[in-house]
Subunit: 258 residues, 2 copies
């Protein structure tokens, strides 16, 4: 099962992605956690220290390796669990395999088109076992959609907060994910502090589109000055996301080996 | 004077940009408000209705017009105040001239490289009177910096909130804006709820880098379900940003005609 997490900047994409990665890791064989945002903090979100994360080679540099394995052809499969050669591109934390799309570059050097194109190819080439889950944390905004980076995922999850702007972005994402042929595009409501906010989000989308809600937590701002992982562990987020992860399995029709 | 507003997704770039546009419009001749984010909401931020904003042609379509005016040469100047031909690319609201970089595109169609390249060329070609101000609201994250979209601005303003992640992004932005040759890169602290949060931001940057602080407002979440402009008018933000706008003038050494 392959999932992408999308939404307006600041709605909590990385927080939700990190929680889903941890939730699936508790009951699935392997979870691939892919950071598709060059302004990245998914590593911190799942508890990988900054120094460790910086050592991981970005997957865009894997291109030559894959070319050599495919013998110059266009078809290749990649199974990082079996292939020692990809070890330097993956950080293993238990049954979580962390990968990142690209490095921070010099100002004025170039765009990230190459990284996005390659990440999409990699996503298609990943050989998954029935029980494996891929979760990609996308960059803020809509350019990853016009680029088609996440084309081929089974579900696009759009995180919204109770604000008109984040809902406008989500409606754009739904439309554009449809253009990409992604059939399932579902919504997670984050930072919910009142019944009115919940209702506001619910009535903005067709029935059945909102998979679940995550409450606003007052300690968020206190913990935000610490590392991202501390934020989550202070929030009982893992319990709250558990139901959402089961809804995802049901919608996609993939409950792993179970 | 040309300014760009940058920072991590969700820190309040568009809110701060809108407030600065309004503050400068009160004492300067013309303010160019440029939305450089295709997932745009600067129009709403300065009170332009969605229907009106959608009618404005994105500036990337201005290319042929500019080519014809420059006679095929590479040097051209553009003064939208005097040039009727650019009217369809500008929305005039009092002495604010609103422009937007690009349209929302179909999923999987293409990147926004062309738009960013053209916006940078436009920024260089804008003929400003001494009293004019340009304010560009950049997309979330760092790709506009690796693309060099804002190269040539007098100051890059980086908005941060009291979170480690937003400060990490700001430190990256400072580095990359330096790569672009932007000499002044200053910080605005947003969503400040305590002395501890203020101190946390202050000690993350060299002395003199933080131009000012904007308090967190409890009514933010209530108003966020309305339009963006309502959010600001409910916040007394204009009073709070006034001091920051004067600090900017002092730093850049440009106080207009006054």
């Amino acid at each position: 099962m392959k999932l992408a997490i999308s939404g307006k900047g600041g709605v909590g994409k990385t927080t939700i992605a990190s929680a889903l990665i941890k939730a699936f890791a508790q009951r699935r064989s392997t979870v691939y956690a892919i950071d598709a945002d060059p302004d990245a903090c998914l590593a911190a979100g799942i508890g990988i220290a900054d120094e460790e994360a910086r050592k991981i080679k970005p997957v865009v540099e894997m291109r030559d390796l894959i070319r050599s394995k495919s013998g110059g052809g266009t078809f290749y499969v990649l199974n990082p669990k079996l292939d020692d050669a990809v070890d330097e591109y993956c950080y293993k934390q238990g049954n979580i395999l962390f990968l990142r799309m690209g490095d921070v570059k010099k100002g004025g050097s170039e765009c990230y088109c190459r990284e996005n194109t390659f990440l999409n190819a990699l996503l298609s080439s990943l050989l998954l076992d029935k029980d494996d889950v891929v979760i990609m944390d996308m960059g803020a905004g809509i350019e990853h959609l016009t680029r088609g980076t996440a084309r081929g995922v089974d579900m696009m999850l759009v995180v919204v907060e109770p604000s008109k702007n984040s809902i406008n972005t989500a409606l754009r994402v739904q439309q554009m994910a449809g253009d990409l042929g992604i059939e399932k595009v579902k919504v997670i409501g984050n930072k919910i502090g009142s019944a009115k906010q919940k209702e506001f989000i619910e009535k903005s989308f067709p029935d059945g589109d909102v998979l679940g809600f995550i409450p606003f937590n007052d300690s968020l701002w206190i913990n935000a000055m610490e590392s991202q992982d501390t934020v989550e562990s202070g929030r009982d987020l893992l319990g709250q996301i558990g139901e959402v992860s089961k809804m995802i399995e049901k919608e996609v029709g993939d409950s792993g080996q179970g």
